[in-house]
């Protein structure tokens, strides 16, 4: 099958690569770019493990073709930390024990990153609604909410850190 050349920006880096149209964005990120932080869970857009930021919106990368990201800007969990310094969201998950097995964590964090830009000071209910597209099978939701609250507080104290 003929490949299509796509150009996109991933974690600030410009990428130009030929892909088969049927290549899913998550497979492109993991297998072509070796960005394996984005996980594959249910493959049917339910679990949110594959969540990435696409042009400033959270999407499930198992349900987007890489060719559809032509010209787009993608942020994955690997792009959260800058200069070796953890993002406030990552710090929140560390400090509040926001994970057990860690499988859902990259998707949780990249979703939380966007949620806190959409709503910098969310209530607990708004966090739960905003994170409702991400499943955690270790039932760690209490601490995930705390982690997001931790990050919200930190980002509000230092707005430039976003």
């Amino acid at each position: 099958m003929a490949k299509t050349l796509i150009t996109l920006t991933v974690n600030g880096k410009k990428i130009e690569q030929a892909v088969e149209p049927r290549t899913l964005l998550v497979h492109f990120l993991r297998e072509e770019l070796n960005l394996t932080g984005t996980h594959i869970g249910c493959e049917t857009s339910h679990c949110g493990a594959c969540t990435v930021d696409l042009d400033g919106k959270s999407v499930k990368s198992c349900t987007v073709f890489a060719v559809q990201a032509e010209g787009s800007t993608v942020l994955t969990v690997e792009g959260l930390a800058v200069g070796g310094k953890l993002h406030a969201v990552q710090e929140g998950f560390t400090q509040e024990h926001g994970l057990q097995c860690g499988f859902c964590t990259p998707g949780m964090m990249i979703r939380a990153y966007r949620l806190l830009q959409e709503n910098p000071n969310p209530s607990e209910e708004e966090i739960r609604t905003g994170m409702s597209g991400n499943l955690c099978r270790c039932t760690g939701y209490q601490n995930i909410v705390k982690a997001v609250q931790h990050a919200a507080k930190k980002l509000q104290a230092t707005p430039k850190a976003a």
């Binding site: 149209p21 899913l24 919106k57 999407v59 073709f65 409702s132 597209g133």
Partner: protein
């Protein structure tokens, strides 16, 4: 899971899209948000040789008021419907429905047009479109035509769309002052389809229902326009008695299939309960 191979087309204009659909005929499938189509492709339940992606057709996006009607482009994402001040003011049923679809990520990709045109009776917008008496604008190589939402659904995954046609926009009359609305949906969890859901649009005049429209989601092979339920309320005061009669009539119109969400009797009962709740909520919003 890797979907089967296909040729990808990303038209930027409506005429380009129509031309592609005309050229490839049955071998082409339209992709909007993709959240119904991609899972079907992964399971090989759909194997289109050509995908026509409408995401770059800007003329299909956006919400505007024109000629006294609210026009919603087919490629308008659910989250843009939720965030639309115009819709919140003039057709608040649409954001209420959109908020109950999928989850935040799904609502960023999923579109009203995809939800409406897929023909899945489990989708939420069709019942709302029928309750709103919306008009669908269909676009093809031969030009445009309009179809009322209530005539669009022919069977499971079967719609009035002819080969080569696409859904361009949805036109809805803005709510008259005092119109009440509700979409009540029973689902097992976030992201699930409805076990049953009911959309109600209601107007009261002189203590009686002067206008009422009721439609149900996932209660049969197509969205169900519950006309007998409407008749049970029209020109009558809305009381627990008339609400119960409307719910009974709605349940009679249901023909759901059994699945993991429940057997037929349970689903019919829930369609009745959602009808009751939606009428009560719509009534509380009439003022």
């Amino acid at each position: 899971m890797i979907p089967p191979a296909f040729d990808y087309h990303a038209p930027k204009t409506l005429p380009e899209a129509a031309k592609l659909l005309a050229n490839y005929g049955d071998a082409a499938k339209i992709i909007a948000g993709g959240h119904s189509l991609l899972p079907l492709m992964k399971l090989r339940l759909a194997e289109p040789a050509h995908l026509v992606d409408l995401n770059r057709v800007n003329d299909l996006k956006g919400i505007r008021e024109e000629g006294g009607l609210i026009c919603v482009g087919a490629m308008t994402a659910e989250n843009d419907i939720i965030g639309s001040v115009l819709l919140q003011r003039k057709v608040p049923l649409l954001p209420e429905v959109a908020r109950q679809i999928g989850d935040p990520q799904v609502r960023n990709r999923g579109t009203i047009g995809g939800d409406l045109a897929h023909g899945d009776p489990a989708n939420d917008h069709p019942a709302a479109a029928i309750a709103l008496d919306a008009t669908f604008v269909l676009y093809g190589a031969k030009g445009e035509r309009t179809v009322p939402a209530a005539s669009f659904y022919l069977g499971i995954f079967a719609t009035a769309l002819e080969p080569g046609e696409l859904l361009k926009e949805v036109r809805i009359k803005p709510f008259a002052a005092g119109t009440g609305h509700a979409y009540c949906k029973l689902k097992r969890k976030t992201g699930d389809w409805a076990t049953a859901a009911a959309a109600v649009v209601l107007q009261i005049s002189g203590g009686k229902a002067s206008s009422v429209r009721i439609a149900l989601t996932n209660a049969g092979p197509t969205p169900v326009h519950a006309k007998d339920a409407e008749a049970a309320l029209l020109d009558k005061p809305i009381t627990e008695q008339t609400i119960a009669a409307a719910a009974q009539a709605a349940m009679k119109a249901c023909d759901p299939s059994e699945d993991l969400r429940g057997d037929r009797a349970y689903k019919v009962a829930m369609a009745g309960e959602m009808t009751k709740r939606a009428i009560r909520l719509a009534l509380s919003r009439c003022n």
